[in-house]
Symmetry: C2
Subunit: 357 residues, 2 copies
Amino acid sequence: MYSNQLLNKLVISIFNKIGCSNEDSEIISKILLAAELRGINSHGVLRVKDYVSLWEKGRINTNPNVRIVHESPSTAVVDGDKGFGMIAATKAMQIAIEKAKKNGTGWVSVNNSNHFGIAGFYSMMALEHDMIGIAMTNANPLVSPTFSVERLLGTNPISVAVPAGKENPFVADFSTTPIARGKLAVMDKKGEEAPQGYVQDKEGKSSTDPNILSDGGAILPLGGDRIHGSHKGYCLGAIVDIFSALLSGANFGPFVPPQVSFLPLKENLPGKGLGHFFGAMRIDAFQTTEDFKRNMDLWIDTFKKAKPVAGQERVYIPGEPEREMEEKHKKEGIVILDKVLDDLKDVCDDIGVEFTL
Amino acid sequence: MYSNQLLNKLVISIFNKIGCSNEDSEIISKILLAAELRGINSHGVLRVKDYVSLWEKGRINTNPNVRIVHESPSTAVVDGDKGFGMIAATKAMQIAIEKAKKNGTGWVSVNNSNHFGIAGFYSMMALEHDMIGIAMTNANPLVSPTFSVERLLGTNPISVAVPAGKENPFVADFSTTPIARGKLAVMDKKGEEAPQGYVQDKEGKSSTDPNILSDGGAILPLGGDRIHGSHKGYCLGAIVDIFSALLSGANFGPFVPPQVSFLPLKENLPGKGLGHFFGAMRIDAFQTTEDFKRNMDLWIDTFKKAKPVAGQERVYIPGEPEREMEEKHKKEGIVILDKVLDDLKDVCDDIGVEFTL
């Protein structure tokens, strides 16, 4: 168990050392630790090594000039200037919130960015303003659309956060695939088979090998196969790609750059970096906040109290499991795997930061 | 085979006869026939009988005063005044488009409405304005969230239409479940079993009985079960419900009124009618339309040319199968099942409209 505070200090030192400002280092660390606290450790400090190594290859600008390059009263396009995704994403979501304050809603598409951590961090930024927050991002291609052998989409997550009254907010945050890549890696390490409907092999045949991505295989869209609605998962992944990259001028589909340094950048890309999309909708641009929150409380209460199926304790509200995990981790500390700790130590040795936890 | 024109004339006469204005009757018929042409006959003239019978029970206002009840520069709430859903939905989408012209985007949530036909009709209204169109609606509860025995959500469809350049537009239009109710009815008639992952029985156990809904069963969210990501399908259905009904003040979750007259209306409902949500985003509020369309053409071309899996001819772009169907039906005419024709004849006899096709 490691304390949130000490981990935060260490991660800030690392990003500071490679040239990020204090403010930017704090933002990056906060978002990585939000993932750890919420139990999504595939998007936590595990990523530090990859991030630093992208910087070493010259693929990250640690001093980006994140700026609006085009706008209308309710929209903007933001150029992330090749910085870490968290910097562009935080600023873009702030812009969406400001536009929503003035004009009811704000919608910001971001180009020239990189991996931004958990989508839920940004959607939740809207909650304190009594707004619905929306965040999505495209990602490097690992997913084959229905009937395709080729990998053309990322796991392209969507997050939507909705404020409530007495109840905790509703926070959906999910990839548009049955499973994220990180969980396949865990199955592989444990020697487990992947369930049917997760992956296909390099010829597009159904597979249960969790390591099949390393042999030309692909993750399937949410739904798994055509009979179970994979064309709907494909639509969702495509919509995230279009909103994040076609509206912003980022790379899309198979052109999205990899977020690990051992995979080379393709040449002659059609866009800049990877793309995100953010939205903020002010509740009182539709309903009185009071009415909305009262109804949202009733919605949550109704779903919470639904009779569960045999063998399950209850029906969960989106965001509930992550919030419970967060409370636990804040009290008890964060579990970091030995392998991840070793990687963090290596990074510290490499760039000359003292490793203390 | 029946001609689109003659069917249109008949359907207009029916809605005219029950009190809809010429203009409204034309809108309703156009949207029902758009469904027939696109091959989505579960949302076509099959519905006329249910619609008329809801009107006979006094649950439809055929002369609604559809109006904005609240607005901001980029948002509005529209009261559908208990009319047919198509009337409120068409007007709401027009409002979204007008707001997008002025402020970049427009977002309209609708209360006090009814079944609106196919979501794709409304999202596609944005295309001729060089905008992305979005349409969604909640629906009467047939779907159990992950781990719930109770039916708390509708099949809550989402449609997103995106303009392209030389290529045809991208049009996604899908329910947030593996299958729509209509397809279960077809399986039942044919004596087929439903695939695993479509439905559960009244105790929440997996079932393959396509008629299980009539015995307290439920449709499952997209993903099917927890292992295959049904919690993501549940999130999607919930987001549609919140945008359509909590933002507008319509009924939500298990309170959404049934769209068939043989099921009674519940008392003490928390909202008004059912709800929809529409969005329009002007492309040039983000990118030049020219750049966007060129990239969208490249996106479509890249996905179209992807190598298909064995046994499949090609990878489809969302909207492609429906458009091909539309071209075919426009040439060859529309197939109407005998049962549906008989129902139409009954309706005509009942209200005193001459049946000619």
